[in-house]
């Protein structure tokens, strides 16, 4: 094979980075996903299951961890024998109207998590109650979980070949597998059996139980059918080999030999033909190895389609999506114009259209879409798929207007009558041409107010009445002057044109209004979301907006730290979205669905592919980086969710909310980081301050003691010795104070401080503090003014002692020796106020608040020893007791000095 490969690129031909990226992504995704191997056959009975199990046995013999997830035995004995020795998962049993059905158990397989799982019949439709409607979705989940899957598929189950097979065999198969699933398989092994042998096996009863065989032989298993199906299967496999080769070439930077950039665009409409067109487009795209886009152009006229037709459009788009197409919704005035513009923009090379059968006169009257597109398409090839003769084409039915058409026409007739009466009055006084103007005015009025049809009627009626009543000869349709024929012609033409434009304008306005409404709702939501800084609040906002649009209940489910969604407090109803919401428990199953939606970042529940039997739909809040949570919506009228615009709007709401929530969460994270940095700064400042305050006394102690230990001759005398020892003693005390302060501060700021409150007389604590500071206070006048009837304080006595110690110590440290210190207490406004006043230089002006900050000293480079923590400890103690502390200066007129005053709440006194 390698001999056939084109040459590798020369080194200067660099690999396109985009291509490289795409290749890496492919390889990455492949590494994470499990590998899918399909045993592919032309018809039932060719031996796919047999081949699959044989391969499984081979792997098991090589000690690969392989289990059989589900095999359809059809009573085939030889297949059953192959199961011996293989691990078989028990099937899931579902009760359906009293009948027990068995299904492949996805959860069991996920839980068992082997290397490989064998799951028969990929196209199988699951019974109601299973997680996914289709087995291929189960398989998809296994692959996502990284489990390899062996499975079987028949050619007639491939979505895009479905109708081809139906044409060959006359049997329409309902169970299909999307082409993208088949295409994405890592390996497809064709299990081939010549038709004669298959028929032989069938007759021997090896395929079906005997009673079914006869029926099968006459319908599906005719030799001609089998030959055609075999050919189809062979060709499909060959196509895949081709694709594999192409991927190989891309992966290995081999120059493509074919023209690049084929892209197919298919136009989808509401008519049933579209389904065929979609399948045809897929076949063409596959044959061309081209990407393809399915497009629906919504024109004002199409917005009025009945619901059934809209559903068909949606179904067709969905079909295209399952077939691997990219889909797009366009809106505009003209289908042809929008389509061509879009095709040009996307570099489309081929457009595929359906040609709906319609009367030939219709074509003459107005060019069909096909004609219009063919005319504008230029270089783009246009393919037209014709409708079949027998196929029913139901014309889109117009939505009934608010007023019935009969009423509308009656009203417009009344307008014509009124104008005619007016003309009758004016006939004698004005020219005939001006009467024409009046009739035109009527046409314009009706076109603008009532609609297109009625205004056309008005135009026709006007001409008739004008001719009959006013143009001589009167009361006859005959015309005396041939010139009037021009008048009639122009009058009719003008009327029709006006009615056309007026009606179009009206419809455009309606479309614009609908769009405007949506834009406004989204704008209102985004504006509200921008104002909030809280995830819960954001959740409430989006729920309020969703419920304003669709009645029902909604809830936001957010995950805990381990990614498990938490049961929300309630589902909110419209009336109660903001306050006292009614409790509405989320059923246990629903929480599971929500969790699935969260884990897979895909919507689940009603109107989705996953667990569609639920009452509610669960939409993941997918943000850029992760899934924030899930929004559950249980509409009062579930059919409201069927409307695509409705779902689109809700999904837009959810997306906006997700982005907003992520923004808030990121901001919170950033803020937390900011706080951390701030406290880190504080710690560093504290550390540098402490290390300075520790080193200074240590330096003196080491210096003094090393001098004392020095035994060199002519050493120090007794007096010097005493001075040095005094210095060591003082500095050691300073260190002691420092350590005490640090311990206090650590205790106070550790955050888990328990106050041991007791009933204490203030004077007792003051007395203890003064006693402790006795030596430092020698020579000072200390006055204490505590009223004898001062109530007891309910405080932590040790801490309050420390507080007063720090204040008095501070007062003696920063004031000249011998100056007085005054301690006073009183009861003021329900508080006990205690003050310590000195007669020193006071607190630096403007620093009254800052002195309580850590590392702050009264004077920047004071010679006083100590440590700036004393006052911050005092503050922490006061605040721990629920009080306040302030510093202030006295003016020199009042003796100067600083006063530190703290207040403590006055507690109820203890029982005497």
């Amino acid at each position: 094979m390698s001999a056939n490969l084109p040459e590798r690129r020369s080194p200067d031909q660099r690999v396109d980075p985009d291509e490289l990226l795409a290749r890496m992504r492919r390889e990455e995704a492949r590494a994470r996903r499990g590998r899918l191997k399909i045993f592919f056959g032309a018809a039932p009975g060719v031996g796919k299951s047999y081949a699959m199990l044989e391969a499984a046995r081979k792997l098991a013999a090589e000690h690969v961890d392989i289990v059989v997830g589900y095999v359809e035995l059809h009573g085939r004995a030889d297949t059953e024998r192959l199961l011996e020795g293989l691990e078989v998962l028990p099937p899931q049993r579902l009760d359906h109207r009293g009948v027990t059905l068995t299904e492949f158990d996805v959860d069991a397989a996920l839980k068992r998590h082997p290397r490989v799982v064998c799951v028969d019949e990929l196209a199988h439709s699951n019974h109601a109650g299973a997680r996914h409607p289709k087995r291929w979705m189960d398989v998809e989940e296994l692959l996502v979980a990284g489990i390899d899957v062996y499975t079987t598929v028949n050619v007639q189950h491939i979505e895009s070949l479905n109708d081809v097979v139906a044409q060959i065999t006359g049997v329409h198969v309902r169970e299909t597998v999307p082409d993208r699933v088949f295409d994405a398989a890592d390996e497809v092994e064709l299990v081939d059996l010549p038709p004669d042998e298959l028929l032989q096996r069938l007759r021997e009863g090896k395929v079906y139980a005997s009673e079914k065989t006869g029926q099968a032989l006459t319908s599906f298993f005719r030799k001609g059918n089998l030959i055609a199906l075999r050919e189809l299967a062979l060709r499909t496999t060959a196509d895949r080999v081709d694709a594999a080769l192409r991927a190989y070439r891309e992966d290995h930077a081999i120059v493509e030999t074919w023209a690049a950039g084929e892209r197919v665009l298919v136009c989808i409409g509401p008519d049933p033909l579209s389904e065929r067109v979609v399948r045809a487009a897929r076949r063409l795209a596959t044959a061309l190895h081209a990407g393809w886009i399915a497009v629906y152009v919504e024109t004002p006229a199409l917005t009025r389609l009945p619901r059934a037709a809209r559903d068909r459009v949606l179904a067709n788009l969905k079909l295209a999506e399952t077939l691997g197409a990219e889909t797009a919704n366009l809106s505009g005035e003209s289908v042809a114009g929008e389509l061509i513009a879009y095709a040009r923009r996307r570099n489309v090379s081929k457009i595929i259209l359906g040609k709906p059968s319609r009367p030939r006169w219709h074509d003459r009257l107005r060019p069909s879409l096909v004609d219009e597109i063919a005319r504008q398409s230029g270089a783009i090839d246009v393919y037209v798929i014709s409708g079949e003769a027998g196929e029913q084409t139901t014309q889109p039915r117009r939505i009934p207007r608010r007023t019935s058409p009969w009423q509308a026409y009656a009203r417009s007739a009344a307008v014509v009558v009124a104008i005619t009466l007016l003309c009758e009055l004016l006939y004698a006084y004005v020219e005939l041409t001006n009467l024409v103007m009046l009739y035109l005015l009527g046409t314009v009025y009706v076109a603008a107010r009532i609609g297109r049809g009625p205004s056309a009627l008005v135009a026709v009626l006007s001409v008739c009445l004008f001719d009959f009543l006013f143009v001589p000869p009167i009361y006859s349709f005959a015309v005396s002057d041939a010139q009037y024929l021009i008048t009639f012609g122009v009058m009719l033409a003008t009327g029709l044109v006006i009615s056309h434009f007026a009606a179009r304008g009206k419809r455009q306005a309606a479309v614009a209004r609908a769009r405007e409404r949506r834009t406004n709702e989204l704008y209102a939501l985004s504006r509200e979301l921008a104002l909030s800084r809280n995830v819960d609040e954001l959740g409430r906002i989006v729920i309020r907006h969703i419920l304003a649009d669709i009645d029902g209940e909604a809830a936001v489910l957010l995950p805990d730290a381990h990614g498990h969604l938490l049961d929300p407090e309630h589902f909110c109803t419209r009336g109660a979205a903001t306050a006292n919401a009614t409790r509405y428990p989320v059923p246990g199953n629903d929480l599971g669905i929500a969790q699935w939606a969260y884990d897979h970042r895909q919507k689940a529940g009603r109107n989705t592919d996953t667990l569609a039997s639920a009452d509610a739909i669960y939409l993941p809040l997918n943000a850029l980086k992760r899934c924030i949570g899930v929004i559950g919506l249980r509409p009062a009228d579930p059919s409201r969710l069927d409307a695509p615009e409705q779902m689109q709007l809700i999904e837009s709401f959810v997306n906006q909310a997700a982005v907003a929530m992520e923004r808030v969460q990121l901001a919170e994270t950033a803020q937390a980081a900011g706080v951390e940095i701030e406290s880190e700064k504080m710690r560093n400042a504290l550390l540098s301050s402490i290390s300075h305050d520790f080193r200074t006394p240590l330096a003196s102690i080491i210096g003094a003691t090393s001098t004392l230990l020095d035994e060199s001759p002519g050493g120090i005398d007794a007096a010097q010795r005493k001075t040095l020892l005094g210095a060591v003693f003082d500095e050691a005390n300073r260190l002691h104070r420092l350590v005490d302060n640090l311990l206090d501060l650590t205790r106070l700021t550790a955050g888990k401080l328990a106050l041991k409150r007791q009933w204490v007389p203030l004077e007792e604590i003051v007395g203890a503090v003064l006693h402790r500071l006795h030596a430092a206070l020698v020579g000072r006048k200390i006055s204490v003014d505590i009223p004898a009837d001062l109530p007891l304080l309910h405080v932590d006595e040790v801490m309050l002692g420390q507080l007063l110690f720090n204040l008095v110590d501070n007062a003696q440290k920063y004031t000249p020796a011998g100056s007085a210190i005054e301690i006073a207490a009183s009861v003021q406004r329900g508080e006990i106020v205690v003050s310590v006043r000195d007669h020193g230089p006071g607190v630096p002006a403007g620093e009254e608040e800052r002195v309580f900050d850590k590392f702050q000293r009264g004077h920047a480079e004071g010679a006083q020893s100590g440590f700036g923590l004393g006052l911050s400890i005092a503050k922490a103690i006061v605040e721990a007791h629920g009080g306040e502390i302030r510093a202030r200066n006295y003016s020199t007129d009042h003796g100067g000095g600083a006063e530190f005053r703290f207040s403590l709440p006055l507690a109820a006194q203890p029982p005497a």
């Binding site: 311990l743 007791q758 009933w759 203890a768 204490v784 005497a912």
Partner: protein, 234 residues
């Protein structure tokens, strides 16, 4: 060195070698006979062996807690126990005192404080050996006549309520020694009132107002914050 016969024997149970060294040097210089144990078990053995007059116990020992050493010592040891403890450990101090320790010293301490505690301990030892209760206590301006249940300040009678008197007498009998709230409550009010310490504080305040010149700067009735009260020893 004191001339009044041999000085007391002191056992120091302390695991920190620097503090042990400092105590050894200081006490030796002041004429005490000293033994040192580096952990609780050694300490208990040494106490039994040496029969010291005073035991100094550090509350933070490496093997068993100082509180346990006190409990086990008090099973047979009747002489003085002085506890060494860090600041902010008021609960430990109170616990040690309630278990039977006689006094405490907060680390770091100077030699002056240590000697004062030892002096008080020695006096109580002498008093206990004499087994002869003091009849009269004189402290500065204050005279407490325990026999006559009379208190005089500056020669004038001070009128005290019975509880105030009992409180003052209890503190004065243990002059220089700290008494915990619990000890005082038990001694004055009885065991039933140990959970109502504010009684004690109210009575003590009243007492101060009667016998102190400045109740906020007392000379006799000193507060040991968080621990208890001490009658000042001159």
């Amino acid at each position: 060195m004191n001339a009044n016969g041999p000085r007391a024997t002191v056992l120091v149970i302390e695991d920190d070698p620097q503090i042990a060294r400092f105590l050894a040097t200081a006490l030796d210089a002041h004429g005490y006979a000293l033994h040192v144990a580096a952990n609780g078990h050694d300490g208990l053995r040494e106490a039994a062996l040496r029969q010291p007059d005073i035991v100094i116990v550090d509350l933070g020992l490496p093997d068993i807690s100082g509180l346990e050493v006190i409990t086990r010592l008090r099973e047979w040891f009747t002489r003085s126990i002085i506890v060494l403890s860090a600041r902010n450990r008021e609960t430990d101090k109170v616990g040690a005192l309630d278990l039977g320790a006689d006094d405490y010293l907060t680390k770091p301490f100077g030699i002056g404080e240590l000697l004062a505690r030892l002096r008080v301990a020695e006096r109580h030892r002498a008093k206990n050996e004499n087994a002869d209760p003091e009849a009269r206590i004189e402290a500065g301006d204050l005279v407490i006549d325990l026999a006559a249940r009379r208190v005089q300040r500056d020669g004038a009678d001070v009128h005290l309520t019975p509880i105030e008197y009992r409180l003052l007498a209890a503190l004065a009998r243990h002059r220089g020694k700290v008494l915990t709230h619990r000890q005082l409550l038990t001694e004055v009010w009885g065991a039933a009132h140990v959970e109502s310490p504010h009684y004690l504080r109210i009575y003590l305040r009243a007492l101060r107002h009667k016998i102190e010149a400045d109740p906020a700067q007392p000379k006799h009735l000193l507060t040991e914050v968080g621990v208890g009260y001490r009658f000042a020893d001159d």
